[in-house]
């Protein structure tokens, strides 16, 4: 079978075939345009109406899907199972949270310029690292910059020391746990146990207004689309093939003249940046960021979304995060307390029965169908031929 050499194609064709692009565009249209319209333009009496609650919930899922894309780049493509992606999500979230706190103004419980928790702690003024976060631009940059710089430092030390496999998983898990303990401290000036919450406005828009939340939802959808295209671009380039090669045979990569440290660092930092953006979009929609986001269990869940959807496919990461979180919201509402059992069962089930995740389901069904289907047409002619022979004899 002659497949066209992908490197001769223009960039957009290297990422997807025209049919695939149409599917991507249709899904993007559904998420970014149709869903908000079902909330704002369709009257609540209609069965197609989406409630405010549903739209903000879906917006939260979209930020999770962005987070999962980075995780897939890291784990699915490069084989680095980081169990600390929550760190970068939370760092991005805290940066945005600080901005939102500083724009509560006098509307807080204590009607003070200072954030409530600082008044409560009798702090006379903002700590030195707070004032720059008054600027939306600075906070947005920091939401990407802080996680990427942190990832660059941590990743450099870890990858240069050739820490990999389960050891990397363990130290990233320890990292998120250590940061959780750190963020619990009031002395850190980030709200301790309670975190940052009770926001009022973002960039001048009231967070109580549904139009603001719809805007944040649309922004999440657009960022998800752009992150997907960026990740797809990375994975379809030669760089992407080097990443997969590192996953499948790091020794061969080194003896082929590539230094894996630089590549691992690149993908670790890219995943952290994406996670930071996701966190920054998550916080204004959910209305709170606190150290519980740094609980190791939260980061493990990210790995589960990707495994359930299908590792190393990007689409699987998005699908997995939407399906698992949808299931989570539905179950915790219907059968409170059952969630962890179901999550465990889903994870084990997928690993045992569908190791390539939900995205492989259609292909598997098709393969199963093809195994069954040809029997009839292949069997029948031989019978007729045999009968004809009998008759002619």
């Amino acid at each position: 079978m002659q497949t066209p050499d992908p490197s001769t194609l223009p960039l957009w064709r290297r990422l997807h075939t025209p049919t695939q692009w149409i599917v991507v565009a249709a899904l993007a249209f559904l998420v970014i345009v149709v869903v908000p319209l079902l909330n704002s333009a369709v009257p609540p009496s209609s069965p197609f109406h989406l409630s405010d609650f549903q739209v903000t919930l879906f917006g939260k899922y979209l930020t999770y899907a962005i987070l999962a894309l980075g995780m897939d780049l890291l784990w699915g493509y490069t084989g680095i199972l980081s169990l600390g992606q929550g760190v970068f999500f939370a760092l991005g979230g805290y940066c945005m949270g600080m901005y939102l706190m500083l724009h509560i103004g006098l509307e807080g419980q204590y009607h003070n310029e200072l954030p409530d928790f600082m008044v409560f702690l009798n702090w006379p003024k903002l700590p030195w690292y707070w004032p720059p976060f008054r600027s939306f631009g600075f906070a947005s940059l920091a939401a990407v910059g802080v996680p990427t710089l942190f990832a660059a430092g941590f990743g450099f030390l870890a990858f240069r020391s050739r820490i990999r496999g389960v050891y990397l998983s363990i130290i990233t898990q320890a990292l998120t746990y250590a940061l959780m303990l750190l963020f619990f401290l009031n002395e850190l000036g980030l709200g301790g146990n309670n975190g940052l919450t009770d926001y009022k406005t973002i960039a001048g828009y009231r967070l109580k207004e549904m139009s603001t939340l719809r805007g944040l939802y649309v922004a999440s959808g657009i960022v998800l689309l752009l992150s997907y295209i960026a990740c797809r671009w990375i994975t379809r380039s030669k760089l992407g093939r080097v990443l997969e090669a590192i996953r499948d045979g790091e020794n061969r990569v080194r003896f082929s003249g590539y230094s894996p440290v630089g590549f691992k660092l690149f993908v670790f930092v890219a995943a952290a940046g994406i996670a930071g953006i996701a966190g920054a979009l998550y916080v204004p929609q959910v209305g709170i960021i606190n150290p519980s986001r740094l609980d190791p269990a939260e980061s493990i869940e990210v790995a589960i979304w990707v495994a359930v959807g299908g590792r190393g496919t990007l689409v699987g990461a998005v699908l997995g995060s939407l399906v698992v979180n949808g299931l989570k919201s539905w179950l915790t509402n219907k059968y409170p307390g059952s969630w962890l059992y179901v999550l465990g069962a889903v994870f084990v089930g997928v690993v045992m029965l569908l190791p390539d995740g939900l995205v492989s389901l259609p292909r598997r069904l098709w393969a199963g169908w093809k195994k069954l289907a040809p029997r009839a047409p292949m069997y029948l002619p031989t019978v007729t031929v045999a009968k004809e022979k009998e008759q002619s004899a």
Partner: protein, 265 residues
């Protein structure tokens, strides 16, 4: 980034391309390489044999940078000391190695495997923006043909037979255009026919570069018809043509044991 040395091309015949000076590798007291002094001339095809544990793979490890010698120097071309460089830097200098068990990227196609090995900038950013030129494609096609995998180009490497994987790995090394090629048991697990084909391939590769082959298969070694080095307990036992080596009583002794040495004598 380290580039292949021009120095190598300036070497005159009989100068050494690789030279180990008093190299010792010790793992917790066990000396896998013991004060070894060894060299290969530029353009030479050298075979290294020896019983299990003689230090053959260690020799390849030391040259390719997988293992650092505890003592001694490894000189490439005139004066590049490899013992201070990292494995991927050594690879970029123009030293390629094949592993004992074929090591390819199993989930990539054969063509992609070769593309990844294509000589060129190996930085993160340059691979992100890299595009294959027509010359690169020609080179990949030529290599596919050379290792006999032209009708397997679109296959995932993991689906190849053991022998084909060995050839693919050799093809990947050809793509790197190395000055010195280190082949660790290139015919292990191959059928007689595949072995013959591999021998031909290695001889053709050796025409324009230096090659060192570590092998167990004596028939194959004889067929390469080149200088043989016998390693034993991390040192050189003897060197010379296959005939000379095979009749050396010390070689017979280490291969067959003391008693049979007496019998032959």
């Amino acid at each position: 980034m380290i580039r292949p040395l021009d120095e190598v091309d300036k070497l005159t015949p009989h100068e050494s391309i690789i030279q180990l000076e008093g190299c010792t590798v010790s793992f917790d007291g066990f000396k896998a390489m013991n004060n070894l002094t060894f060299f290969i001339e530029v353009g030479e095809l050298r075979v290294v044999i020896g019983p299990n544990g003689a230090g053959k793979t260690t020799l390849i490890d030391v040259i390719s940078g997988k293992v650092k010698p505890t003592d001694g120097r490894v000189i490439f071309a005139h004066d590049t000391d490899l013992s201070r460089l990292r494995d991927y830097e050594i690879s970029n200098l123009g030293i390629g190695r094949k592993f004992q068990t074929p090591t390819t990227f199993e989930k990539h196609t054969v063509r992609e495997n070769l593309e990844l090995s294509l000589k060129g900038n190996r930085g993160v950013w340059s691979t992100l923006f890299s595009k294959l030129g027509p010359k690169d494609r020609e080179k990949i096609d030529a290599t596919l043909e050379r290792v006999g995998l032209q009708d397997r180009a679109g296959w995932k490497a993991g689906l190849l037979s053991h022998g084909q994987k060995q050839w693919l790995e050799i093809g990947m090394l050809i793509m790197q255009d190395p000055k010195l090629l280190l082949l660790d048991e290139p015919v292990a697990g191959m059928s007689d026919e595949e072995t013959a084909k591999t021998g031909e391939l290695i001889r053709s590769i050796a025409k324009d570069r230096s090659v060192m082959v570590v092998e167990h298969d004596m028939e194959f070694v004889r067929g390469l018809n080149s200088k043989v080095t016998v390693l034993h307990e991390g040192g050189i036992l003897c060197e010379g043509s296959m005939d000379k080596v095979q009749n050396d009583p010390r070689v017979i002794e280490v291969y067959l044991g003391r008693d049979s040495a007496k019998e032959t004598a």
